[in-house]
Symmetry: C2
């Protein structure tokens, strides 16, 4: 039994080259197995240290230094298999451990083992998602999983697709809305249409501006609507701006409602926006790339109340749901739109006289031609958790964020929470060093805290025991935004975060 | 030493759930290791059978049947680790083995082991490519590798990016050209511009129409230029159509030149197109998604003679170069364009006061926000081969295609080669069954051969010992297009292909 004797065959990969592997050598399987097992050993070591709280998240070097240390050159002659293993080890040695429990830096933190296994299988299957012919299982799996997601959203029918990231999912929404409302644009282009206008909050993701730029509307025609002090769009402002645009002769056609803003994690109120969209004949898109995962929790799905009224929804399982990167989905209430919007009928790929039902082929629904298989890593992970497990996963992330807020308040002389209580698992705060603790909170202090934030981040990177992102927001100078999206984070990790900030920032 | 004793710890994963894995259980590493080793065993079995010429490429079931056989449901309760392993096995059991030497079905055939190892590491590193902060090694690796590719193209300076597939790479080219030539469009949109027109050959990839649709030009404004009987664009026709467009008041601004068409593998002549572009102030894009790999061979790079005159080039290493899916690159002669075209300056992600040189961050260059790491699988593979190994790889693919053409000609009563000799590794042909062998070649016969082609493909799928794609092209009915892009293909595999066609098609 091979599975029992993976180490019985010992091969010194040091003398071997890629030509000794399958398929280049018919009997290269033993070398292949040994090589891949050694790679896996390196990856297991990485996983182990990623979960070891005493190990560093990163060993930071400036770009110019790292170029000196590592050898990136592609030479005339091949490297042997031993050198490739060294390359793997070196790459991971200087890579940031995004699965480390002290990594609070991005919306996607953590490394789910089942999803990882799914991605390894995906790589071995190495297929393209355009046809049932070459991806039968994955195509069906995608159908079932995306249907389930639409049911969770509250769409009775509809259609969905996986896209390479939330920005492209949002682009799909804009294109599909434009197609539904102005079918002529596909052939004749924008010059035959009135000036179309998109509305989105000034806290929304920059990909809405991006969609305006890509589709040729122009970024000036993606209009920013002001938010209240919690980062939520103000519906009355939206309505005012819509009527102003109409008065200018423009055609408002698309409203983006964010469920979970990137920085503050705010949720725009869906119902009032849906009412305005209905009144002015506009498409309602909900960008729940970040907050979509809350739909899996009875406790938190109320944050997206009204989402079933949307025409389209972006939801990224690689964020709150913790699947590996990338896994982004976009869902449409109306079936048939994706295909009529994007179909270009490439005969060479999507023949209609195949010996199976070609409506299973997805290639004509997408703006990519080849499409990476992003479903298996999500499906397998979801199987591993079931609906109940995912609910616990989401609830735990919120528990930890709430714990963090409590702890920040307990140490309120040292930390200042930005704006209100967070709605999502984004916790925004300043670290206040001793020298500023007695100073009243005003703009001048905020500017100083903003400078301290950037310096403190630099120290974090250099010491490597904590990573938290920071950014300015509107008039507010730099502040930290800790994200709790790694389900392995425990209360003591939050304690570590605050202690480490104090340790590193005390003398700033 | 862990690496010596991976099987010493025996854990029955059957009683375990995802909650027994890291990071959910601090001491879950042993279970994690055992689970992942079992996954790897399943993948190794798949790799072995993918390279076993006596095993089937696929076990075909109709979609409705496969839905009955497989259980895709996501339940309320979690599945245990044993069930997840069964899920992995079942998924691969019904998946097409795209690495099988008898799989000639798509432009991407084969499964490179080093690139696979690279993708496994990529998954374990699970990071996003927007900043040096969280992907230091990969960002530098991308810079070095893409610079090397630009040097191979013949660009002295310039800039490049990896995109999720060739269609998106081509979209980048259109957007960048539009930005360079009409910088106002970014903010004001297309309505402030004359009607822009793109030219591309009628054998080019449908993503050019797609780019016209997405960017709002309209597919009517992506004009198809006729090809000669080898599938190469006719430059005089292009020039005529450009002047006609100008006469209609349109603004021709972009010419797409295909280096390796999807069906016939034809190479458009670059120099004459570059001359026309110069004369009429148009952007020259070379879509070498398919043929780009030929640049690595001294023998075949002449097919892309003049490519250094292009303004932009698409080149997909996941095709001729055999890297895992997806790996697509787009290159620009002029540096700075990608960033000025796509920058939206998201403060939250691309802060300018970081403690390293933020010009290394790539996030502002792309239309995605999160971007999958597609560089490591390519870089490691390229290291494994070196320049000399890649040259041999490309030359071998051509040798096999030429061998196939010779064999088709030897059996010329049974096979008919479409049009002329192939320029690339696409070999287009009809299988001619005994009943039609005496019939003179005319349209009526072609129609019959087209029907036979589709039937024969159905038989291939059902028996599972051969896969070749087919399509119609213009007025020509269905014909087979065999692609030799798996470097493991040997002469006897080509012999098998022809014998199998005869065996399956004899009574048609």
């Amino acid at each position: 039994m091979e599975s029992q004797s993976i180490n019985n065959v010992k091969i010194n990969v040091g003398n071997k080259y890629y030509t000794d592997l399958i398929p280049l050598t018919k009997d290269g399987f033993e070398v292949t197995r040994e090589f891949l097992h050694r790679v896996i050993q390196i990856l297991l070591d990485f996983l182990k240290s990623s979960n070891d709280r005493s190990s560093k998240i990163l060993d930071f070097y400036q770009p110019e230094q790292l170029k000196e240390i590592l050898d990136f050159d592609i030479l005339a002659e091949p490297e042997n298999l031993d050198q490739l293993l060294t390359d793997c080890r070196n790459t991971l040695k200087f890579q940031v451990k995004t699965g480390h429990p002290y990594y609070f830096n991005q919306l996607s933190c953590g490394l789910d083992i089942v999803s990882l296994a799914g991605e390894w299988l995906t790589a071995a299957a190495n297929t393209n998602m355009f046809t049932y012919e070459i991806a039968p299982v994955f195509i069906l799996m995608e159908q079932v999983t995306l249907k389930k997601m639409r049911e969770i959203i509250g769409f009775r029918d509809g259609d969905s697709i996986l896209a390479p990231g939330g920005a492209i999912s949002n682009l799909y929404a804009v294109m599909t809305a434009r197609h539904k409302m102005f079918p002529n644009y596909k052939t004749q282009g924008l010059k035959c249409l009135p000036q179309l206008v998109i509305f989105t909050s000034d806290h929304s993701h920059y990909s809405m501006k991006g969609a305006g730029m890509i589709t040729g509307l122009g970024t000036d025609n993606v209009i920013s609507v002001p938010c209240d002090n919690r980062g939520k769009i103000i519906p009355t402002e939206l309505e005012k701006m819509v009527t102003e645009a109409v008065a200018r002769g423009q055609r408002p056609f698309f409203v983006n409602c964010t469920s979970g803003t990137t920085v503050l994690g705010a949720f725009d109120p869906i119902h009032p926006l849906a009412d305005i969209c209905q009144k002015y004949d506009m498409w309602l898109h909900v960008d729940a790339a970040w907050g979509g995962g809350c739909l899996l929790s009875r406790k938190y799905r109320g944050l997206l109340d009204g989402i079933e009224r949307a025409n389209s929804v972006t939801w990224n399982p690689h964020k709150l749901m913790g699947s590996l990167l990338q896994c982004s989905t976009v869902h449409f209430k109306e079936n048939g739109l994706l295909i009529s919007c994007n179909m270009l009928s490439a005969d060479y790929l999507f023949q209609q006289d195949k010996h199976y039902d070609v409506t299973y082929d997805t290639g004509d629904k997408v703006i990519q031609c080849g499409r990476h298989n992003d479903i298996f890593k999500l499906w397998l992970m979801w199987r591993s958790k079931g609906m109940t497990g995912y609910e616990k996963h989401i609830d735990h992330l919120f528990d930890m964020a709430h714990y963090m807020v409590r702890k920040l308040k307990e140490r309120k002389d040292r930390f200042f929470l930005i704006l209100n209580e967070p709605e999502c698992v984004n916790v925004s705060f300043w670290y206040v060093p001793p020298g500023l603790r007695k100073m009243p909170h005003n703009k001048e202090k905020e500017i100083k805290l903003g400078q301290i934030t950037a310096k403190l981040k630099g120290r974090m990177m250099d010491t490597g025991m904590l990573m938290i992102g920071y950014q300015p927001l509107g008039d507010t100078p730099n502040f930290f935004r800790a994200i709790i999206s790694n389900p392995g984070v425990k209360e003591e990790d939050v304690d570590h975060m605050l202690n480490e900030l104090e340790r590193l920032g005390y003398d700033l």
